[in-house]
């Protein structure tokens, strides 16, 4: 054995170390974690701890109370994208989420939170599936939690479909769109990886149908309302659509690295289409065609919600697996090159066009001309002008190079 070569091997590992800041951050995190989860001693198990008038019998509850009233911002923050199986997942579901629930006072806030947590379970499932880590037990647990929160949200919407149909309809449009996209993503990621998240996907479908019927109820109720109430409902839907578009455009800029450039183009097209739909809605309002305006805003809202879900989920998958989201080849076969992002993928022209994508608030329509973005032959728009967006997660042998 040539010893000189061996010393070079040794040398190749030099100069890799934590920076001082990184060390301190990690050590701080460790300290906080140890503080949050103290050693269990036999005497603690049966001790009664009085805290703010509540009697907490078990140390687990004591830790929760401690977490709620003390600030462990670092741990909580680090836990936010934890997955089942990660050490910090318990913090996410048993500390962060209950804390948020305690802070959500209004019915609106509770509903939004329930929708958000339900969606979080689905993002977790999709990320695990993309990693090939979604086993049966985990899927069942995620499904149970998803159903619990989705049901909470839809019950809320159902109850309010009588008293505030406009509000209920807007929320139902959003939730239904989100669930529809999650369902699609789960099926695609599941099939791309050979496993499947089919139990969860069918649960999502069931919830979606439930929300769909609540939406219909709310819409029927709204139609028999006063003129003022109807106008308010249209305005609400319009504002939600605009906000949805803004959020999605902003997010698309932030997560562009997760997409292959062809996919990025498709997303940009879809955003442009949603913007055009909102403009069409404004036009309808201009000629007092309220039902058509409502329909347009509803479609746009639904589309932007779907895009938002796709962006968020793809970004998560990319962050934890490094895989890029791409599309199948023209002949329908999977694109089998591992696309490791180099950070250069951009949404074409969108950085300049962002300003034109957000519709003006003055009510005048701004027709945006997006003919610069080329259309892929295989992505022909469907009847409604939307381009369907297949999601394929390619896997192959690694070609990564070691770089620091």
């Amino acid at each position: 054995m040539n010893n000189k070569f061996n010393t070079y091997i040794k040398k190749s590992g030099e100069n890799i170390s934590l920076t001082r800041a990184e060390r301190e951050k990690m050590k701080g995190m460790l300290r906080e974690y140890m503080a949050m989860k103290p050693l269990r001693t036999p005497t603690e198990v049966s001790a009664e701890i009085s805290f703010w008038g509540f009697s907490l019998l078990r140390p687990v509850a004591a830790v929760l109370a401690l977490a709620v009233f003390a600030s462990s911002a670092g741990i909580s923050y680090a836990a936010r994208s934890a997955l089942p199986g990660d050490v910090l997942y318990a913090i996410k579901t048993e500390v962060n989420e209950p804390l948020k629930e305690a802070l959500a006072i209004s019915t609106d806030a509770k509903q939004e939170l329930a929708m958000s947590v339900a969606g979080e379970r689905l993002k977790e499932a999709a990320t695990l599936a993309a990693q090939g880590r979604l086993d049966e037990n985990t899927e069942l647990e995620l499904r149970a939690s998803f159903e619990e929160h989705a049901r909470k949200a839809s019950d809320n919407m159902g109850q309010r479909s009588e008293t505030s149909p406009g509000r209920s309809a807007e929320a139902a449009v959003r939730f239904e769109a989100q669930l529809s996209e999650y369902e699609r993503v789960l099926v695609e990621v599941g099939s791309a990886k050979g496993g499947s998240a089919s139990t969860l996907a069918s649960s999502v479908q069931a919830e979606r149908e439930r929300v769909s019927s609540i939406l219909v109820r709310a819409q029927v109720r709204a139609e028999s309302g006063t003129t003022a109430a109807k106008a308010e409902a249209v305005a609400r839907m319009r504002d939600a659509a605009k906000k949805g578009l803004d959020d999605s455009v902003k997010l698309s800029g932030e997560v562009h690295a997760a997409f292959a450039s062809s996919s990025a183009e498709t997303i940009a097209q879809n955003l442009a289409h949603a913007s055009a739909t909102i403009s069409a809605g404004e036009n309808f309002l201009g000629i007092d065609a309220e039902p058509q305006a409502l329909g347009a805003f509803q479609n746009a809202l639904s589309d932007t919600e779907k895009i938002h879900v796709l962006l968020q989920t793809s970004s998560r998958i990319h962050k934890s697996t490094g895989l890029l989201i791409t599309e199948p080849n023209k002949d329908g076969s999977d694109n089998n090159k591992l696309r490791k992002g180099n950070g250069n993928e951009k949404f074409p022209e969108q950085s300049k066009e962002k300003a034109s994508l957000t519709t003006s608030t003055s009510g005048n329509s701004e027709r945006t001309n997006n003919s610069e973005t080329s259309t892929d032959a295989e992505n022909s728009p469907d009847v409604n002008g939307r381009t369907s967006f297949p999601l394929v997660v390619p896997i192959s042998s690694p070609t990564s190079s070691v770089s620091y």
Partner: protein, 176 residues
Amino acid sequence: METKEERALLEAFDTNADALFRHASFRIGDRERAYDLTQETFLKAWNYLRGGGTVAHYKSFLYRILHNLIIDEYRKKYSVSLDEMLEDEASAPAVEALLSNDDGRENEERIDERVLVEKIRSHIPELPEQYRVAVTLRFIDDFSIGEIARTIGVSENVVSVRLHRGIAKLRALCQI
């Protein structure tokens, strides 16, 4: 108000964090993930201690946790089958035979050291995982053969063989 367990783990952190991070970085080639895994190692260590476990030697304890995390990471990131993770055992001796002549020694002295080190670094990911583990633990972490054996759970003989073949393969990849 630190308990003695907390103090022990924090001391183990001071002693080992850097080395663990270097090990992870070298093996998976992704600095950010290496940071996460190193973090996760210590949090898992704490969970173990919390559950009443005792630790005699922190270094090997922590390395074992990290090693398992890296194996998981490798599996989920690349979805390779176990077969692909193993080198084709049949061809390995042939590769070794090609290099046993050692007239590579002359070439090596002429090559710029920096270039060689870069080459090695860039070819490490191409080593089959089993070889990569042995090479990393030996040369980056300075583990003895015995320590490597205990960390990854194989016999010392197996470690020696993998080490030998790993170096031979690496040289072949670097064309030395």
